[in-house]
Symmetry: C2
Subunit: 223 residues, 2 copies
Amino acid sequence: MTYIIVFDVNETLLDLAPVREWFTERFDDVPDAAAWFSELLRLSFVSSVIDRYTPFTELAAAALGTVAGRCETRINDDDLSTIRSLLTNLPAHSDASSGLDRLRSSGFTLAALTNSPQPTAEAQLSNADISDHFDVIMSVDMVRRFKPHRSVYRAAAERLGTEPSKLVMVAAHDWDIAGAMAAGADGVFIERPGQRYSPSFPEPTITAANLDIAASEIDERYS
Amino acid sequence: MTYIIVFDVNETLLDLAPVREWFTERFDDVPDAAAWFSELLRLSFVSSVIDRYTPFTELAAAALGTVAGRCETRINDDDLSTIRSLLTNLPAHSDASSGLDRLRSSGFTLAALTNSPQPTAEAQLSNADISDHFDVIMSVDMVRRFKPHRSVYRAAAERLGTEPSKLVMVAAHDWDIAGAMAAGADGVFIERPGQRYSPSFPEPTITAANLDIAASEIDERYS
């Protein structure tokens, strides 16, 4: 089996619903979790462009302060520890375990590649009860740049003892697919609710409504 | 006078209010112009990270399609030409002309540096009746990467016959200041309504509520 299937973690495998619920309870709808996650991603993109690395969890805290501040709300230490704990204990999406199982049964090597720091990534997958499906769990920590910087996917390929062209990146975010494809990998876009693929980026190799369908299409194409 | 003052264009000098009004009329509040501009910036950041250049005006059109599509609305050719025309004909902020005037009277060289393509940038500043204030109008076209990529600020310094450390970047966006400072320039953040400076980025050299105040502080510090 020459291809290695690489999974993004947050939103792709893990469900951010508990974070969404907490935002609604804590802030009465404004700001919402989408605004926070979008600010977090903005910080990570800019950090990559200007080559200034700050761990994703710290950017998550800064983003929380900013979106709350826009609504004249102050966040406190309890908020920060709540969101940290929620992020580390996200449940797996209902299709994650079955999708991963199918690919493992077919003999693929499976890897996780996330913007979360290494210890957070390991805790997240373990708490969601899906860490056993992975041969390798990797964080962008190893290159101190965030996805979608090409150096991340190249470092992942090297760590896996292969070339980027033998990686198939599975993600619910168009920028992650675009970055992987720019590095030479194939890309599988999972259409999680609310996620759209911008026509500005190269078309994904496969687009699937969920991980079960994705697994079946990956199996067919790359086995 | 050794320092050259470099101005961002959209939102910093030009007022996006007509775009905001058009969104409200056209889409009945959802999506709004903030969502569109934020999607446009997202596309530009990701493009810089993966090193895939598409002119800003094309990203603006793609972003319009995406934010409208999220609300199950389709955009048509009229929408695209309307937003293109609005963007090319934005009015100057009320403090733009006086702020630029003051700095010019003090003898500073003034430059514009924008993500807009070169012909768009020139038309924008001319239509807003402020192009005469500038010695040089520059677009990221010259390096085919968007701000805040450091290569943009370095190319601007070279074009101006100076070093990045002699540039003072004036912008209403934290990422633009962060990029300029990462390239070695100083940064002046203009607090336009709704704009906040993320604590994740290096603190600006000067923060000012408008361009008149900024001009006065720049004059004092760099003359």
